[in-house]
């Protein structure tokens, strides 16, 4: 059953976005990418020393995989920094997609939502296709949508924690209230069950990195994450039953063997 989705001008089949950081080696990263089926890979930019060669071999390897690249603005603390870095990313990676991250707190890496709104507006007006990394705040997400952003990426939990969805109620509300944008949970995913939960809520996709890159067998975990995304999506499309407070027998009670009418 084809279940493709449109992300700006690109049609995707996979609902997993995969980060490229923290793998033990480029070869293991490539195995994980292939096992995940991810069609979108995140990257970043960092200061480069002269004659270092930097990550050029790695970047060449990534290009050969022919995936859609989604550069991020990780490390930026102001809208001004993020807008400048987005322009640099567009030239380096040859894409107008940008995962807009602006850190507001060093302890939990919570995004600065005021700066995020400012940068989203500027970049959208300059033709960038913004993927806004935010918290699960409904009002902020609505404002991001109203600015023209088509992909909103609320966190599940702080980056790298692997805690899963800390506020499923708010995420469920986001999905119920925002029908006309792509919602992708980004950050905090630790297990395939978290991915399945995201997809069961009706989210369009999941972005993860640490849970795959730092586990003992990244390719195996990447495959598990892929299956979880498919399972969760199918569950969402199937129209799951509502929870009940009382038991209801699943086996028919008519004709129950050994049952006898008793007089009170």
């Amino acid at each position: 059953m084809p279940d493709s989705w449109q992300v700006y001008d690109v049609e995707l089949q996979s609902r997993l976005f995969l980060g490229t950081a923290q793998y033990p080696s480029p070869a293991i990263m490539q195995e994980a990418i292939e096992a995940s089926g991810a069609q979108v890979l995140t990257t970043s930019l960092r200061r480069q020393a002269p004659n270092s060669g930097g990550g050029q071999k790695w970047w060449q390897q990534l290009r050969e995989l022919s995936r859609q690249i989604l550069p991020n603005t990780a490390g930026c603390r102001t809208a001004k920094e993020a807008v400048t870095l987005a322009h640099m990313a567009r030239e380096l990676f040859q894409t107008d997609w940008i995962k807009l991250e602006i850190t507001g707190d060093d302890y939990n890496l919570q995004p600065n939502l005021l700066e995020l709104l400012s940068a989203t507006e500027q970049l959208h007006n300059e033709g960038f296709k913004v993927f806004a990394y935010t918290t699960e705040d409904l009002v902020i997400c609505k404002r991001i949508r109203d600015l023209g952003c088509q992909v909103i990426m609320p966190w599940g939990a702080p980056i790298g924690t692997g805690k899963g969805l800390l506020n499923p109620y708010a995420l469920k509300t986001l999905r119920e209230r925002l029908h006309d944008v792509n919602l992708v949970v980004d950050a905090g995913i630790g297990l395939p069950s978290h991915v399945a939960q995201v997809m069961e809520l009706g989210f369009d996709g999941v972005l993860l990195n640490t849970s795959v890159a730092r586990c003992d067998d990244p390719a195996k975990m990447a495959k598990a994450m892929h299956h979880a995304s498919v399972a969760g999506r199918l569950a969402y499309l199937s129209g799951a039953i509502s929870e009940r407070e009382t038991a209801v027998a699943s086996t028919p009670v008519i004709g129950t063997p050994f049952w006898q009418s008793k007089e009170n």
């Binding site: 004659n51 990550g55 050029q56 790695w58 030239e91 990676f93």
Partner: protein, 65 residues
């Protein structure tokens, strides 16, 4: 003159951005540059004048999440 390159004080004897990058040993095709937090497109490097105490950020592709 003294300028900041990726946060470090550096002495250069050129004032044109393209020439400075060449003097510092960068491979132009691998990097992107901002001067004083303003992006300088590669097409403008030849026309970009760097002044005393200007700050250059010279970035390359890197892993990311």
């Amino acid at each position: 003159m003294r300028i900041l390159v990726n946060g470090e004080q550096v002495s250069v004897d050129k004032s044109n951005l393209s020439e400075i990058l060449d003097q510092l040993g960068y491979q132009p095709e691998d990097i992107v540059v901002a001067r004083n937090l303003e992006f300088i497109p590669r097409a403008h490097w030849d026309d970009c004048i760097v002044n005393e105490q200007d700050s250059l950020d010279i970035l390359a592709a890197m892993f990311g999440g």
